[in-house]
Amino acid sequence: MASDQKHTGGSLLFAVLQEHGVKHVFGYPGGAIMPIYDALYDSDVEHYLCRHEQGAAFAAVGYARASDKVGVCMATSGPGATNLITGLADALADSIPIVAITGQVPTAAMGSDAFQEIDVFGLSLACTKHSFQVTDINDLAGVLHQAFAIALEGRQGPVLVDIPKDIQMAEINCSLDDLSQLPNKVKLPPVDVTQAISLLSQAKKPILYVGGGVGMANAIDELREFCDKTGMPCVSTLKGLGAISPENENYLGMLGMHGTKASNLAVQESDLLVVVGARFDDRVTGKLDEFAPNAKVIHFDIDTAEINKRRKADSAILGDLKINLPALAIPLSITEWQKQCQANKAEFAWRYDHPGENIYAPAVLKEISDTMPKNTCVTTDVGQHQMWAAQHMLFNDPSDWLTSGGMGTMGFGLPAAIGAQVSRPTDCVIAVSGDGSFMMNVQELATIKRFQLPVKILLIDNAKLGMVRQWQDLFFNGRLSETDLSDNPDFIMLANAFDIKAKEISKKSEVTAAIAEMLDHDGPYLLKIKIDAEDNVWPLVPPNTANDKMMESI
């Protein structure tokens, strides 16, 4: 039995983090978390100082999503804690395992409207999977162990631990080896695949609809084997991209609002949807009542609450995809359906013969996708560039594609790329951003500079909030309200101010050499490409419309 060691709350925190294999944390110090930062001084945990707590939270998200590790972020009380909130909400929406540590004013001052006091415990209820406030030093280690267990069990998610300053400073003698982890709460009914096998055997036009849950379950191999054995035409959600092999001839691309025509037509015509780790999100379904109207549904998930939430399942298979997917991997006789889907895929393939000399962002993204090194990790912000990247880039694993899906948070891409680069230091990391999103967490260029992270930034600049502008043109009579960004800063000068090499191009003829220069550069690099402000993302399924009624041009 291990002997007791003397700890402060702060030093105990880092001892427990290290027990869970945490090597890196992202954060920002402040008054109510100073004892923890004092303990950090003696710790082996490596801290990445971000320049805003939101940046720290997104870096932790990027770190977790690019690897199979838990992301850890820290902030002080009050504004530090509230600045973390958007990152936690993002992690909750996309089921990302995060442990967030917040400092809190001393217990004696709590509830007195003290300086930098906010009820972050109360705020956390709507944006975390679970949260704790530690009011007794004897509870601290146990709570931290529970935080890691809860973040990882079942459907993963963010957990917040709020630690008052006096608890951080309190002393305790304890042995870490005595601490046990929380038993897994997730208890699911036994799986019966009889009904699902029957549905699958009878289907003539089945579609495999793959979501982010496949990557979260580490079930890529099982999914690809399922694809190979069934030969089922398959589509992916935004977060599921990378799960299906891009070489799969039956893979039709992304479905939904900006999905491929082949995907959406196939889903609408299908007679069976095999839904794997996906949740019928409104950006996927379009008008829910008219989504895949003739299809029965087999729904695989780890989260009971997703079954029948938005679409009734004819067969629900709850549990671990690694175990459950192989049970349904049976050969199917669907040759005609495969041919039809493949013909649509060919007929409606992306075209890159864009007229004129101005740069066409989809073609640039395709060229980067074709030339970037294997295992490149791409992050995005939110908007037109995000949808173009989802449409025109191919990924071999969901951990190579980090985008804010459920929350759709602008400002995600740059700090997420920082986290990804820290977790995968030898892999190429590219942040694809737009000029609107980039400015939302632009301060993180300082983090890139400080740690000399070789993140590549592709800044697609239309001097607009492009997606909102597109919707204003299409659905608000062209009344362009507050979407003009023509007074953007000089992004090249801005990057240079952080010792980041940067280049701007505006002609198609410059693209190939510029991509090569960016990818060949050893350190951080910003490539700004100027595009037409009028370029739109197509196809687009208008709001509250069935997915087969997509718009393909103005």
């Binding site: 415990f121 109360g122 209820l125 709507a126 999977k129 679970h130 704790f132 406030q133 809860i150 709460k185 989260d303 009971t304 609450a305 079954i307 029948n308 939430k309």
Partner: protein, 85 residues
């Protein structure tokens, strides 16, 4: 609109009642009655929650069940809605 009475068994942990109330509101259910007691010997709480909504009660049960400190949720009464009753 349907009225339901849920009986929720919980571990008596921090803010467990607030968590249930937050989820109930967010998932589209309104509360028209609540009764909560804790057995201090076992640290197990029992919460009777009267709610109404147009949404199926299963959606709320599944979401409450996901909360970490919940031991059990069941519908103990399903009361048809009577306007102005």
């Amino acid at each position: 609109m349907n009225n339901y009475q849920l009986t929720i068994t919980v571990d008596d942990k921090q803010v467990v009642l607030e968590r249930i109330l937050q989820v109930t509101r967010y998932r589209g259910f309104l509360i028209n009655g609540i009764n909560a007691v804790v057995n201090t010997g076992t640290n197990i709480g029992t919460i009777e929650l009267m709610v109404y909504s147009e949404r199926p009660i299963e959606l709320l049960i599944d979401q409450i069940n996901k909360l970490i400190d919940i031991k059990d949720v069941c519908v103990t009464k399903n009361i048809p809605y009577t306007p102005n009753a």
